[in-house]
């Protein structure tokens, strides 16, 4: 692929045919074109697209849980599973279920052959429904595969998972896992009294800071040859099980604990090679002022709204989808602007073991059939 050189003023950079992208020093990461930070995949390539390429190392992704927590739990698991497949270390914190149980329930990665077969099935279903006539107009696109490229061939960024199958235990145990189960932790140390924060959150911060400094994720250990990334997952932060009453009272006893926690956590993330996903039951938080502050203190905020039990379940506009995705915040790192897709109306669906996010408004027109083919 040789460029035209100086004639039209283009660069004379020539990409060597057959050579894939240069592997970055850290597994499972790639640099962002916009701001040069290292990006991690969230485990869901369509979510990576929505977030402007992926989750930057050192940032915090907050997921506002859907009503029953089903789909936010899926995103949580995708993030952890992606960490295992890339060889990253994991830190799982929960007050609801033991992290070991969470790690036993992770979805299995889709290998190349099974992946193509899944896509083949999808394409066959799409073709056989009522799109046969419309495909005649768009005949050029008919024989192209549904996705641009299979993710596990030459890029190691972004994988697909099958939630109907569990991850094999030997793969799960191939990475270092740290866990924090609130009800098994010791009572808080006296030094933390000065923090003026909910004890559960304070203990969690202490635990995270200890792991970061002991395992050298903050660069404090120059002897460590192979640097790695730490993926932190915190489940249902702010729920009553953490000892915080923001979800049951309009005037909580300590309205600043959650926001202080997020501030200090972001400080820890910024100075280490880590990224964090937090799910928050925002629909339960009574005091909306706290949710506004929580949004301002996070880097990326994505809200999920599922259609279960709402009148949208039977609305024909949403018949192909299971819920809506609201992107509330995207960070601007090292730049005044960020990469966002132009489609602001996003919906998600869980179809045939694959979870996808795409724009939904044109789903009933011909144009959307072409769009569905090229969507992630």
């Amino acid at each position: 692929m040789a460029a035209a050189g100086g004639e039209r003023g283009r660069t004379s950079f020539q990409r060597r045919p057959g050579a894939g992208p240069r592997p970055s020093a850290l597994p499972g990461t790639r640099p962002s074109l916009r701001h040069g930070q290292l990006l991690l995949s969230s485990g869901l390539p369509s979510l990576d697209c929505v977030l402007g390429g992926g989750i930057a190392v050192g940032t915090l992704l907050l997921i506002e849980e859907d009503k029953y927590g089903l789909y936010s739990n899926l995103l949580f698991k995708y993030f952890l599973t992606e960490g295992i497949v890339c060889g990253h270390d994991l830190f799982v914190a929960s007050a609801k279920e033991h992290p070991d149980n969470i790690l036993k329930e992770l979805p299995a990665p889709l290998l190349d052959d099974t992946y193509r077969k899944e896509l083949g099935d999808e394409a066959a279903v799409v073709n056989s429904e009522d799109f046969q006539d419309s495909m005649k107009i768009a005949w050029r696109y008919q024989n192209l595969p549904k996705m641009e490229t299979s993710p596990t061939t030459y890029t190691k960024f972004g994988h697909y998972y099958d939630i109907s199958k569990k991850m094999p235990p030997e793969l799960c145990q191939s990475v270092k896992r740290h866990s924090f189960y609130l009800h098994e932790e010791l009572s808080f140390e006296p030094k933390m009294k000065a923090w003026n924060m909910n004890s559960g959150y304070a203990r969690l911060l202490q635990s995270i800071q200890r792991i970061i400094s002991q395992e050298g994720f903050d660069g404090s250990d120059p002897q460590k040859k192979q640097r790695n990334v730490l993926r932190i997952g915190i489940q249902s932060l702010g729920s009553i099980l953490w000892g915080d009453d923001v979800c049951c009272s309009d005037t909580p006893e300590d309205p600043h604990s959650l926001t202080k926690f997020l501030y200090v956590l972001r400080g820890l993330l910024r100075k280490s090679l880590s990224a964090c996903i937090i799910t928050v039951p925002s629909h339960l938080v009574q005091n909306k002022a706290i949710m506004e502050r929580v949004t301002n203190l996070s880097d990326m905020v994505v809200g999920l709204e599922s259609f279960i039990g709402s009148e949208r379940e039977t609305n024909p506009l949403y018949k192909d989808y299971h819920g809506l995705v609201h992107v509330r915040q995207i960070p601007r790192l090292n730049s005044l602007i960020c990469d966002v897709s132009d489609t602001k109306d996003l919906a998600f669906r869980l179809k045939r073991k694959l979870f996808t996010i795409e724009g939904h408004l044109e789903s009933s027109t011909l144009l959307s059939t072409i769009k569905v083919i090229f969507s992630f």
Binding site: R34, A194, W195, N196, L205, Q209, H256, T259, K260, Y263, V264, R266, G267, L268, R270, K271, N287, K288, A289, E292, R293, N296, L297, S335, L336, I337, D342, K344
Partner: protein, 187 residues
């Protein structure tokens, strides 16, 4: 939260995140030197103001006229446990030291929105608007998302009753401003 202070020909910078981590995870503080982020545990912004005051203190014979204090952003102080009155007191003290005594400028960033339910934040914002000489209010377009116009800025100086509106488009490293109706989408 970050504080920049341009004084004595130098830039003094306080990085809130780092100071907070040093306070919470570092060694015990010396009694004579409280951390500027002390308010995270004690709800008192005096230490933060002391940091500003000590940085402004004249060193040597020359006194610096016209220091600039930048605060980014004030809404975070509320999230960290400071009361609205404490935040307003802090800004008042800063204004007196920087603007009145040294003829400098103070620039403060706050988050707000018209349908915000954060009453404490709105209290701080309204009070600041009342005491400010110039208010720049950046907001999205009322008509929704547009690729060529990212939003508009309302420029309202205190003394005059005149509100000017400029629309803007953000690029990678700078922002272009233009009058409403003169965006690239229209021309």
């Amino acid at each position: 939260m970050k504080i920049w202070l341009l004084t004595h020909g130098q830039l003094v910078f306080l990085e809130g995140l780092k100071s907070c981590l040093d306070l919470l995870f570092g060694e015990e503080q010396q009694p004579g030197q409280p951390s500027p982020l002390q308010f995270v545990s004690s709800c008192d912004l005096r230490a933060l103001f002391d940091f500003v005051r000590l940085s402004l203190a004249p060193c040597g014979s020359a006194s610096w006229k016209g220091p600039v204090l930048l605060v980014d952003d004030l809404s975070v102080l509320l999230s960290l446990g400071a009361t609205p009155v404490a935040v307003l007191d802090f800004i008042h003290y800063c204004r007196v030291s920087v603007c009145c005594q040294l003829q400098g400028n103070v620039v403060v960033l706050v988050h707000s929105s018209e349908d915000s339910e954060d009453e404490e934040n709105e209290l701080v914002v309204n009070s600041l608007c009342h005491h400010s000489d110039l208010i720049l209010w950046a907001q999205g377009l009322a008509t929704g998302f547009c690729k060529d116009v990212h939003g508009q800025v309302r420029h309202s100086p205190a003394e005059q009753d005149l509100v000017q509106i400029y629309q803007y488009k953000i690029q990678d490293r700078n922002v272009t401003f233009f009058a409403p109706g003169l965006s690239a989408a229209v021309l």
